[in-house]
């Protein structure tokens, strides 16, 4: 995924209504009408949000007749979450090394400036 795609993922997630729509879709496909119900929102209003989500690759829409059911696409979300795991390892290992380093210099009495 390019970083511009990633930006659109983040922008899509930035809106609470769109997050709610995604949560709803996590439990299964739904039509525009079904998605509009919980949010006192017009169908065109919901359609606008769906377009943003579709452009970000977060949902796909069926080609069946009028209803064009919406479906959640998990991959972009997973990719957005994966980097967090990458950095968790990065920091855990770095802080292990910092612990060793601090012990070492304090043993050497090189506390320099410390109290």
């Amino acid at each position: 995924m390019s970083s511009s795609t990633l930006d659109s993922t983040f922008a899509a997630l930035a809106d609470p209504t769109r997050r709610e729509i995604l949560v709803r879709l996590a439990s299964g496909e739904a039509s525009v009408k079904e998605l509009a119900e919980p949010f006192q929102m017009s169908l065109p209003g919901v359609s606008k949000h769906l377009k943003v989500l579709e452009r970000a690759g977060l949902i796909s829409r069926g080609r069946v007749a009028q209803s064009r059911p919406c479906r959640l696409e998990a991959r972009p979300l997973k990719e957005a979450a994966d980097w967090v795991e990458h950095y968790r390892r990065f920091w855990e290992e770095g802080l292990d090394r910092l612990e060793d380093y601090l012990q070492e210099i304090q043993r050497e009495g090189e506390g320099g400036g410390g109290r």
């Binding site: 995924m1 390019s2 970083s3 990633l6 930006d7 983040f10 922008a11 997630l13 930035a14 809106d15 609470p16 997050r19 709610e20 995604l22 949560v23 996590a26 959640l72 998990a74 972009p76 979300l77 997973k78 990719e79 957005a80 979450a81 994966d82 980097w83 967090v84 990458h86 950095y87 968790r88 390892r89 990065f90 920091w91 855990e92 290992e93 770095g94 802080l95 292990d96 090394r97 910092l98 612990e99 060793d100 380093y101 601090l102 012990q103 210099i105 304090q106 506390g111 320099g112 400036g113 410390g114 109290r115």
Partner: protein, 165 residues
């Protein structure tokens, strides 16, 4: 107050207590010769480290992986309160310090171009608690939206994601 208040869900937070005075721990994060001794995963070395420690100042580091591959990283200090707080951006770079996309280094394709790192240093009885918060910052105009929104988005979907490998 800086970004160091309540942890936001979806944001990476790592906390560690060190048996060392806060002053010293802060210096280990901000003086190049000290940073080079520990920064990065096990087995990495740091052949280059330049730090201009002032608000708006930049840093440039080269981390060398055990296999010899170099990763250049740069960023800008947003906030510095010695010895309590450091806030800086974090991006992959070339060796001239220009920001490059993480994919250039083969990093996870889902990684934001720019990350925001907030580090707090708290004095406990005889030790220092370091908390690192790491959040994604997309580029350009989406940035402000995202600072409020993206973490919550990932949180609500975490249950779904964990079942969707």
């Amino acid at each position: 107050m800086a970004a160091g208040d309540d942890p936001r869900p979806g944001e990476l937070v790592v906390t560690r207590d060190f048996d060392a005075p806060r002053e010293l721990v802060f210096r280990a994060w901000t003086e190049p010769e000290r940073v080079r001794r520990w920064w990065g995963p096990e087995g990495f070395t740091m052949p280059y480290c330049d730090i201009d420690l002032r608000p708006g100042g930049t840093f440039l580091r080269c981390m060398r992986a055990p296999g010899g591959l170099d990763f250049w990283v740069t960023g800008v200090f947003r906030e510095i309160v010695a010895p309590e707080l450091l806030v800086f951006t974090d991006s992959f770079a070339d060796k001239e310090g220009n920001v490059v996309p993480p994919t250039r280094y083969g990093a996870g394709s889902g990684m934001p171009l720019e990350r925001l790192v907030t580090v707090t240093f708290e004095e406990l009885a005889g030790s220092t608690r370091v908390t690192v918060r790491h959040a994604g910052l997309p580029s350009g105009e989406d940035r402000d939206l995202v600072r409020h929104g993206w973490a919550g988005g990932l949180e609500s979907l975490s249950g779904y994601l964990s079942g969707a490998s």
